[in-house]
Amino acid sequence: MVPTLIGRIQTRLFLLATVGVVMTLLVMPLVPGTGAPLGDRYVTGLLVLVAVGALGIGWELLYHFLMQFRWEKDWPTSFGLLTLVPEGLLLYFLLRSGAVDFIDPISPATFWTHFTVVWVSMWLVANGPMRVPFIRWRFRGGRIL
């Protein structure tokens, strides 16, 4: 899928709300670095997804701008995976600094395990299986609506 700006944002939010939620439910009981009750872990995990979505709108604007320098106006597959590094780092430091205070303090192991599992799953779904139920999605720059 070669995205448009609105398609990028819609795809991100849609995948967070579907794949992101499912993976959070699956992975949170297993994450290392925390002794919190499962209910609290779920709350933390889901709030991280909300933060990834909210910050993501800003990130997508930046990616869209960078994409303009590419003749093809495309976004190679690898970029979709590797952007987990800057996005993860920014969110992690925001959490550590207390700037995102609606999320409880979180250990590095918990954060990175959850974040990486969710990100890789979303990337895998976006690069193939997403096209199975949504046959018009890839021709509309990633728009769902």
């Binding site: 106006k73 597959t77 021709f139 720059g141």
Partner: protein, 485 residues
Amino acid sequence: MVAAAGIPMYDVPFLTVGGGIGSFVTLDYLRIYGVPTEQMKVVSNIDHPWQTYEFLTRCSQIPRSERIRSDSSSRPDNIWGFPSYALEEAWKDKNPVYLWQLFTEPILNDYWTPRAGTVFENLEREAKRIRYWDMLVKGQVRMVRKRNGGGYFTVVTPPEGAAPTKRIVFRSRFVHIAVGYPGLKFLPDLQEFRTKYSDYQHVVNAYEPHEQVYEFLKTRPGTVVIRGGGIVASRVLQRLFDDREKYGLKTQIIHIFRTFVTGSHGPHIWARRKGGDGWAYQGFNYPKSVWGGQLKAEMRKLEGAERAAKYKEMGGTNTPKRRRWQEQMRAGRAGGYYHAVQGTVDRVEPTPDGRLVSYVRSNDGIVREPVADYIIDCTGLEADIAEHRVFADLLQHGGAYRNPVGRLEVERHFEVKGTASGDGALYASGSATLGGYFPGVDTFLGLQIAAQEIADDLARRGFVRKMGPLRSTAQWFKWAFNSPV
């Protein structure tokens, strides 16, 4: 009137004309949406949908074992494009390197592209699955005309002996035309040479069989002139370089570019394509975003001169920058057997010893006169759409007209503008519709995009139910298990 003339007439709600990959993907979509074979026919003069495509790719030096220039997820046999060709070939060849290439394209690696054979084998599988041959009617379409009561008549000449009359007629509510390229056009100076000296052996088009060139070069050292700067020129060069290496030949290559690209080019920093050594470089035949990204969205809104300007901005002959080709050309330049020059050719004449001299004028005024044994025209010029009798008739009698780049003007849903007839509709896809709201028409994925638009428009008209996520998923499983739709 038709009945009175004694011409047999058959009713079929949906008829597609052409029988190549354009017809195939449209039928594939409609079968998966739920249309039974009894409601559709395809009229064609070829036996299987990939026949013409395979002929042209083979001539232009892509046998089944070689890779075509197409994205991994552009699968004419699979409307979802999942699993992509790369996944399939990686699985079948037990070769995960393909997946690494897919992941790192186009940054650290060339674009991964499928083997021609993979494409054809899968098309055959899907054609059987949707019962393509139950819908095939062999014949040559003469014309498609509006019918007074709505819909269309399609007049067909069946193969000799196949029908009791010379013509048969189909009456249908919907007609789809996907007849491919109207024809090849030669460079004018080469056409003149061929006609004047009746020599069709030494001046050849890369899309016609020209194996004699490579066979001759195996028997003695020779010189070949290549004309054109696109993918076909790259392919033909590769064959010449490969043969040189494989058989220790002494072939000299003179490559004439009309437009010699020396570096990045384009009007501003947000519209600059890479290039060099004569070539403009691009992974596929359009920038990737025409099939679903930004360029597709932009073009969809443009009309008239603005649309033509956008086509011009992203157009121009180009080829992918593949690492192997770059190496071969570098070696050729260093070894003094590959010479690329800018120039336009005034004329071509035979020499007294039976060779060919080209009079080449460069932009800087220098005139060169290279002598060669063969000239291969790799420009891939296409003939005007009116060269095809069905389009000529539609333009003259059917209400169709031309778009800003001179081809058939179609709607965003690929209905040919000006040809509506009662509750019927006439659609077209493929090369003839280049210049419309969607640019990548003459590509695998472009044909599928057109097919989806057409299928959704037919759903709006009540011919079939629009496919949603549930049916799509169920149908995907049927595809995966190769069970009937």
